[in-house]
């Protein structure tokens, strides 16, 4: 193998195990020097790619594996249990005064379930969602986002809707829309292992529940811009 053939392989694959390449590397001075220079460059690439690895993540993964083993057996049961939690939560809070802290507590209990349990495989077209929203006196104007689940459900002050909306990284995020529970300004909720925010809408409010690292800003912005009260002009929809 001459120098130029050697260099051609070296520039693409300095780790080549081609016997002729290895021989030239060992016995040809010019090839050896080129190899040493290439490996210095290679070391820099290797160093550059060595980003710190989060140690706790592997434990998190093992935890999820254990969880998965159990959850696969009782996935259907979980869906039923979620409905039961909602029903019990609603019953409990219907008996109480509607204060903002009650609202937070209700949301915390009702939305502890993973949004992944609910999400469907495909995005629901906005045209399908509009009649559902209309039934709770709500109109959708503009882009609501990538909704993969929506079901009407009782909330603290009447009917609302539970949704699973995908964020920009395609992660499922739980949203609870409460058309009859207005808040004056956004409320950040302290939740165990989750982050929660109740956002004020033109009609009522919506709670967005997500994992601490998940992005929800786009969903929040879409909800604020798209959800409107259903007025006379919208009745025909």
């Amino acid at each position: 193998m001459n120098y130029f053939e050697f260099k051609q392989i070296l520039d693409a694959d300095p780790y080549s195990q081609n016997p002729e390449f290895l021989h030239a590397k060992k016995h040809d001075k010019r090839c050896r020097q080129a190899y040493q220079k290439a490996m210095a460059q290679e070391q820099m690439i290797l160093d550059a790619l060595q980003v710190p690895v989060p140690e706790h993540n592997i434990e998190h993964i093992k935890f999820h594996q254990a969880q998965d083993r159990q959850s696969r057996f009782r996935q259907n049961f979980m869906a039923l249990a979620a409905s039961a939690v909602l029903a019990v939560g609603v019953g409990f809070f219907m008996l109480n005064q509607s204060t903002e802290s009650d609202l937070e507590k209700f949301i915390h209990e009702a939305l502890a379930m993973e949004p992944a349990v609910y999400k469907g495989a495909d995005e629901l077209p906005q045209e399908t969602l509009k009649p559902l929203f209309a039934s709770i006196n709500t109109a959708i104007e503009g882009e609501l986002g990538d909704v993969h689940f929506m079901k009407l459900c009782p909330t603290l002050n009447g009917q609302g809707a539970r949704m699973v909306v995908m964020n920009e990284l395609n992660q499922p995020i739980t949203v609870l829309y409460m058309p009859n529970s207005p808040v004056e300004e956004a409320v950040n909720m302290q939740m165990d292992g989750l982050k929660g925010k109740i956002v004020a809408l033109e009609q009522g409010s919506a709670a967005i529940i997500a994992q601490p690292h998940q992005s929800t800003a786009q969903i929040e912005s879409n909800l604020i811009n798209a959800i409107k009260p259903l007025n006379q002009g919208h009745q025909g929809l």
Binding site: D11, A12, D13, Y15, M44, I61
Partner: protein, 171 residues
């Protein structure tokens, strides 16, 4: 720990760091990398019984990660406001000189800018330790195409570093 867990740990647990780094450079985002590795291990866990050839375990789990990345994130990459924000500071555990640290940071910036068709084989080679033939199998392209992509990847990195170095000299 069950037999299945022991088998899984022994076969695939050892690739955690390589997978994380591969995921990080694929998605260029720390949170995305965490989610991706988690989802990869979960899918591998569910499908471990289908892995017949244990020698192929490494290639198998890297393929799962690549497919998962393509499925979930490829069309929804995060908006990167500034490359500087994305590049993690180099940990100086090896007591490198300031020049060496700067070169590594420049290489990281160059990696960020590298087209994915060039970056992916390079990462499979440098992080995954795969040979050209193995990369060709994973990417379902010919070994000579892999060689071309690796050549271009290294050339782009070198030219970026040379350019950066010239700018540095002018300043």
């Amino acid at each position: 720990m069950s037999m299945k867990e022991r088998k899984f740990d022994a076969l695939l647990g050892i690739y955690y760091e390589d997978l994380y780094r591969f995921a990080y450079w694929l998605g260029k985002d720390e949170h995305m990398a965490k989610d991706l590795v988690q989802e990869t291990y979960l899918r591998a866990w569910r499908a471990i019984d289908s892995l017949k050839d244990q020698k192929a375990a490494k290639s198998w789990i890297f393929t799962i990660l690549r497919r998962e990345f393509a499925r979930q994130f490829e069309k929804k990459l995060p908006i990167i406001n500034s490359l500087d924000e994305m590049v993690t500071d180099v940990e100086d555990a090896n007591h490198r000189t300031p020049d060496e640290l700067m070169d590594i940071n420049l290489t990281r910036q160059a990696m960020m800018k590298l087209e994915s068709k060039y970056a992916e084989p390079l990462m499979l080679q440098v992080i995954g330790g795969f040979s050209c033939d193995e990369i060709a199998q994973q990417l379902e392209i010919s070994p000579s195409a892999v060689m071309t992509q690796l050549f271009r990847a290294r050339k782009q990195l070198t030219s970026h570093l040379t350019r950066a170095s010239k700018i540095g000299n002018k300043i």
